[in-house]
Assembly symmetry: C2
């Protein structure tokens, strides 16, 4: 894996970044004083603020902008619902157990780890330069055997690379085959492993005091939205298409979580279920607005050929050539990209990857992931799946609830069809207890068969129909009992099950990946990290620093902080005795975009300096001008360049 | 129970309100198409919006206003933590099982139900008017035996009333006594019940694939905050006092949930943990700001005497006379009241009730509940507990983590004390394997005892010390081995475990109770319900209605909706063909505070009418003036009265 670099061209040193994020309490392992639990994290004040800001922006960008119907549904979910949705049977990963040590491995991760290690050993044997992932190395030093420096056959290298390119495409039996064929064992002990078995990833519990209602913690927010479809359609005054949306925690009992915030057992999701008529090509009324958006796409076929080469094209083009199936899917892919850019994501570190067939969730008909590049590789942060009519159909079939749209047709539909009349009076006495089975069998006859039977009946005066459940397996019917005629049926109402396009956001993954992408450090000093959050995302917008602890500064500081708070601009005062440079450095690490300095000049003429985090440039102006400029910057009405042009530059203090 | 009336003096008809709230999709039972699960609800779009608005206001009123450190911690919690916190052993309700039918009853609710029913039968027998709770009646018709009309002894009536006044004060054995003494049985079958047993209210699950880590869904957000105390103190640059805060779901596996949103198994909480030095009377620096706030208080002693009579007094007075223990507790009680008033709570329907001793949670030293009056009675919506140093102490003792504050003393503390020196060289050979026990026993000697022993030692040259774990239970020590002297120890650092004041908000209960309090119906028409949400809480701020579907209105409607959205004012257009009156009535039910009508006059001169939901009065002004007025109203800068005074009234359309 090639090294990932910051905007300023430095290689991202994850251990430095990680220690900064923990020191500043962006996040911390949950229950750490009890030894912690892998895959569970707490967000501290700055992390929690960034999380809230992402959610706010998401709500504005999607829910408010498109009048989506936001709902908040239960996490506890009874067994029956998740049995119907397919999660009880299919929401699983494959795990291998070492029968000697009792260790449990996630099968695909194990294959990945072992093959990557062998490829590295091969490179070393061939004398090639090897990129070192320090964290992985550190872990290996503790518990994994050192990479064996062994040269492989060229053909084997190619096979390994092809497996790794489509590692997400293998199911249990395929993984078992790979494990056997390439003799993959416990990397620590070299012991043999049992064949992979499926492990369901839902947390199980029991609802109520009598333990007769098993349930799970939801694995996604989607099911609650589907179950309420009828009510939401009613709330939307029967108008289609529409979208529901939900923001909330979901749960996934990972086999062996790793990679920090990227693979956790409890996570904040934001999901949209856009319900659309499957007829008419799933057009979208606002597609025109996004059709020229340039996207980086990695399609399914390229991946299956063992490559990860992306293409650049507009979403309009991608839909036109059928690479992206329809306008609605395309519209959301473009809107997802716009959202990610608002968060500060680097366009060069974003790609949309199409799922391969076996990789897709059991309910999906097509799926694209928005992936962000980080030091862990390309990370799936948003999924955008076409779930077709899968969910509404299975719940409708199970419960009988009409999870459908009924639409008055503009023009009544006239259907020519073969209809069957039965003489009910004679029918009962003739078939007695078999009557029901016979009627059901007749109702189920296809149009094709009806046409043939009509002919038979006319020619011979009787027909034979196969019926399950009667002794002979068939019955004879004559003209006295049955009539088959071609007639026209007029349909005034159209009934259909909507399809669902589902953009699904993992907020924690977005948060972490975005942080890696906005992180850099001041030239010449790796320890001086900066997080260049856009103002809307930054935990605190303004740092107010008096030049020293001199008492004349206090009233000015108080006035500025109150003024900004009244304007709705969150700010913090740092009146500690540390140097201005140190105080700014601390806030660079917290990603605070602007700083206001109160100095002796301020006391004289009520002017203040305003500092830009990224450039460390400063301007100086009156209290009101500075406050107004901050408001404009934070609300995105002006950029720093705008402000710098219209307000006089200040170069007095050394506050870089 | 006396009937509860609306602001306009109507009796609240809960069944009418409830059906309106469901029709407008404020909330709905979860999994309803699968038959539902009691105690689990989904919030639909308007309910979800109100919920989000309450949370926003909470965050501004508490977190931002007081620079609290907001965190977001895991819900999944390993067994060990909740064992230490006491929840595994004590977070339980008492339940009784009917051995014949298998039915399970929550013991205190059963006692309440049966005694209330008997008191009602007594009233009927005495020919007194009986208030009827329709929902309870409806339920009873289905499954409970009708009230028996039986006159009771006056003394028995008094006993029943006293039990009901302190029903929350009984533990399992006390409930068992009551059940036996008053022969309380299964109300449906009259069958005898088994004695009450404790049922733990936490949902249990298992973390990870190997099922060797049992865990629970958290019963409160507090524990995550306590476990992070050290890091939060560090983040706060070691400065005390400070508060952390958290908003998130918690879980409680209720035995038999009832009363809609008021008793649910999964609920949104907002909790503050304010960490304060236990010395110095728990003063609060901002108490001065709230000391004149008038409160309605119901103290512990009044309740124990069997009464529920409240007193009015300022919080300043309540703290002064020691009814409320300290300023910090008092400060938060006043701030809680201010918050509830912002939501639209009726001052006459709010009281603060002190917990009785047995009623308090296992960790609480004192506790007051903010209770809102609803048709279900007085409902606990906010708890404000003094948890003392309980939680930090138990976690510190269990893990050894220093969950303490270390403070450099302004003046070093000089402590005169009896110190003991042991001659280690002689000590080891003398006591051998008992050495450790002897040392521990000596270390544990009180100052009092040391003084006495010092005298003995001086007089007799030897002393006897009791030691657990040695054969004789005591050892003899002589001057060779031990020296006891009075000396002065200088302490430069003070170490203490902070106390915790915890305001804890049940957001769903607040939402429901507040809705009941802002609900009323238009005079003469019970079916025309109105929800008078304050603008900040209303799901949608403005309804825009064109007078008819005439095409000339469309561009004006579009301009107004875009203008308001840019100002950050959420609004909806209703351009359906229903009459203006009907469209406004629909939005009265949704609680939309303002309406803008677009009519033919608007097309001519670009003026619009603005309607106030509560008074149905209208004003008319230019597009800009109307938009500005709306912004001022929504942001709380102007009241409707202000706007009505400065803009011309309009009486043209009939839009009541």
């Amino acid at each position: 894996m090639a090294s990932v670099t910051t905007k300023t061209g430095q290689v991202v040193d994850r251990s430095v970044l990680d220690s900064m994020l923990r020191r500043r309490l962006f996040y911390t392992p949950s229950f750490e004083i009890y030894g912690g639990v892998s895959g569970l994290y707490d967000y501290g004040p700055p992390g929690c603020a960034v999380l809230n800001n992402i959610v706010d922006l998401w709500r504005k960008h999607f829910v408010l902008e498109e009048d989506m119907l936001e709902v908040d549904c239960s996490m506890l979910t009874p067994h029956e619902i998740l049995k119907t949705s397919g999660h009880v049977d299919k929401f699983a990963d494959w795990m291998c157990k070492d029968p000697k040590t009792g260790e449990i491995f996630r099968a695909d991760h194990l294959v990945e780890e072992v093959l990557e290690s062998r490829l590295k050993g091969d490179k070393e044997a061939r004398g090639q330069k090897v990129e070192v992932d320090e964290e992985k190395e550190a872990k290996k030093k503790k518990k994994v055997k050192q990479t064996k420096v062994v040269k492989l056959d060229d053909a084997v290298v190619k096979e390994y690379e092809e497996i790794l390119a489509q590692i997400d495409n293998f199911d249990g039996p395929a993984l078992e085959q790979i494990i056997t064929k390439y003799d993959i064992r416990n990397p620590t002990t070299d012991g043999n492993l049992l064949p992979p078995v499926a492990f369901n990833l839902m947390f199980q519990t029991s609802i109520g005091p009598s333990s007769n209602m098993p349930g799970y913690l939801r694995p996604e927010t989607a099911q609650g939205q589907f179950l309420n479809f009828q009510k939401l359609l009613e709330f939307n005054q029967q108008s289609m298409p529409f979208a529901s949306a939900s923001i909330g925690k979901s749960f996934r009992n990972e086999i062996s979580p790793r990679a920090g915030l990227l693979r956790v057992r409890e996570f904040l999701m934001a999901e949209i279920e856009h319900f659309v008529d499957p007829e008419g090509g799933k057009k979208h009324s606002r597609f025109e607005e996004v059709k020229d958006v340039e996207m980086t796409l990695l399609n399914r076929d390229i991946q299956l050929s063992g490559s990860t080469k992306t293409e650049q094209m507009t979403i309009g083009k991608a839909v036109e050539i059928g690479l992206v199936d329809n306008e609605t899917l395309g519209y959301f892919l473009a809107r997802i990209q716009q959202f990610l850019f608002k968060l500060g994501v680097d366009p060069k570190k974003l790609r949309f990857r199409q799922h391969m067939a076996n990789e897709m969730a059991h309910y999906a008909a097509d799926c694209w992931d928005a992936e962000l590049q980080t030091s862990y590789g390309w990370i799936e942060c948003v999924g955008c799946a076409d779930r077709s009519a899968y969910d509404l159909t299975v719940h409708k079939n199970k419960t009988g609830a009409p999870l459908v749209v009924r639409e008055t047709r503009a023009e009544p539909l006239r259907v020519e069809e073969w209809q069957i009349d039965l003489d009910k009076k004679k029918f009962g006495p003739r078939f007695k207890k078999d009557g029901k089975s016979v009627t059901a069998a007749i109702d189920a006859l296809s149009q094709e068969l009806r046409e043939k039977l009509a002919l038979d009946l006319e020619q011979t005066g009787k027909i034979e129909v196969e019926v399950e459940g009667v002794p002979t397996g068939k019955v004879e019917l004559d003209k006295e009992l049955i009539k088959i005629e071609k007639r026209t049926r007029v349909e005034n109402v159209r009934e259909y099950t909507p399809n669902v396009i589902e953009p699904s956001f993992g907020i924690g993954r977005i948060l972490y990946s975005m942080i890696e992408q906005v992180y850099w450090s001041r030239e010449g000093d790796e320890a001086r990290g900066v997080l260049s959050f856009p103002p809307a995302i930054a935990p605190t917008k303004v740092l107010i620093v008096p030049l020293s602890t001199h008492s004349s500064f206090a009233p000015l500081v108080q006035r500025m902080t109150t003024k900004l708070r009244r304007m709705g601009v969150s700010n913090r005062v740092d009146d500690s005795s540390a140097s201005i440079g140190k105080r700014y450095a601390r806030n660079d690490e917290l990603g605070t975009p602007f700083g206001v300095t109160v100095d002796f000049q301020s006391v004289k003429d009520n002017t203040f300096t305003l500092r830009d985090r990224d450039s460390t440039k400063q301007v100086r102006a009156s209290e009101d001008e500075i406050a107004q400029a901050i408001k404009a910057l934070v609300e995105g009405e002006e950029t720093w360049e705008d402000v710098r042009k219209r307000l006089p530059e200040f170069t007095g203090q050394e506050v870089e």
